[in-house]
């Protein structure tokens, strides 16, 4: 079948229409635009996910605290035990914040190293 030389010749002679010379540069402009859209999409998705997760955590916190106060304490005065729980919560939140900052910091360093390796 590969010997069908006249068929190949006919196909070759038909391929006269070529792409314009600026085709690749126009395409790359669209690719860069597409890349920006992709980045924005990822950013918006990330923000949405973080917002949803935060709202869920806040709702859960409010629900738990409300429940705790309703059943354990009739008065809206915080006991030392409740204060301790608040303190503990802030302590955990502080540790989580530090971990997030460290994670972001090390990721940036890792990405920079990878880029340097490829260069």
């Amino acid at each position: 079948m590969t010997q069908d030389k006249i068929l190949k010749k006919a196909l070759e002679s038909q391929s006269i229409d070529t792409l314009p010379t600026d085709f690749n540069s126009r395409l790359m402009t669209r690719i860069y635009a597409e890349n920006e859209t992709k980045k924005k999409r990822i950013f918006v998705l990330g923000i949405s996910a973080i917002s949803t997760a935060s709202l869920c955590l806040i709702s859960l916190g409010i629900y738990l605290l409300k429940d705790y106060i309703t059943f354990s304490f009739q008065l809206p005065v915080l006991s030392s035990e409740a204060k301790a729980i608040y303190g503990f919560s802030f302590y955990i939140a502080f540790l989580v914040s530090i971990l997030i900052v460290l994670d972001s910091f090390f990721r940036t360093i890792r990405q920079k190293r990878k880029k340097a390796e490829f260069k």
Binding site: M1, A10, S13, Q14, S15, F23, L27, M28, I31
Partner: protein, 181 residues
């Protein structure tokens, strides 16, 4: 080795070096355009669809697993893009009677297609190619012009290798019928 280089390029593009993507249109735009223009007769539409193929490839670059060569993957996107376009534009291809193909001996087809310097036959063959359906056009373009293997053509057109062989033989017979009016 070439495929390995392309995998490295893809990895780097996914890590943010978008400018490296220019390697792919520089290397494959002509071949992709040659396949699309065979299916979509309009020059402007073929150019637009060639661009769409590369943009789709860029969008889905993270889904390329490397189980076939990048060019095969790109041709598959191009073929699917062109097929979708023919459906949207309602392009109709002539249908040949399958029964008439059964009666054509393989030797007669071989004899005609083995000729090389027959100008009249060449012109008739060019006209005959125009009248093939899109799958046959894609088949012969990939196999004869782009010199893809049967296995690669099968991946691009999402067929089995046996099916590709059968369809190639049938395409040759269709050309024989169209040449002989």
């Amino acid at each position: 080795m070439e495929n390995q280089d392309e995998l490295i390029y893809i990895k780097r593009i996914l890590e943010g070096e978008t400018n490296l993507f220019s390697y792919f249109p520089e290397r494959y735009s002509r071949s992709i355009h040659a396949l699309i223009i065979r299916i979509i007769p309009s020059k402007e539409d073929a150019e637009e669809l060639t661009q769409d193929t590369f943009i789709k490839a860029f969008r889905k670059l993270d889904t390329f697993k490397g189980d076939c060569s990048f060019s095969t993957w790109l041709y598959r996107i191009a073929y699917n893009t062109a097929v979708s376009a023919t459906r949207k534009r309602k392009i109709i291809f002539p249908v040949l009677d399958d029964f008439s193909l059964e009666n054509i001996p393989d030797d007669a087809v071989d004899l005609i297609l083995e000729k090389e310097d027959d100008e009249t036959l060449l012109q008739r063959l060019e006209l005959a190619i125009e009248q093939l359906n899109m799958e046959d056009k894609a088949l012969i373009t990939l196999y004869y012009l782009e010199e893809k293997s049967i296995a690669e053509v099968a991946v691009i057109l999402e067929l089995t290798p046996e099916n590709v062989k059968v369809k190639l033989f049938r395409a040759r017979k269709k050309l024989y019928v169209l040449i002989n009016g």
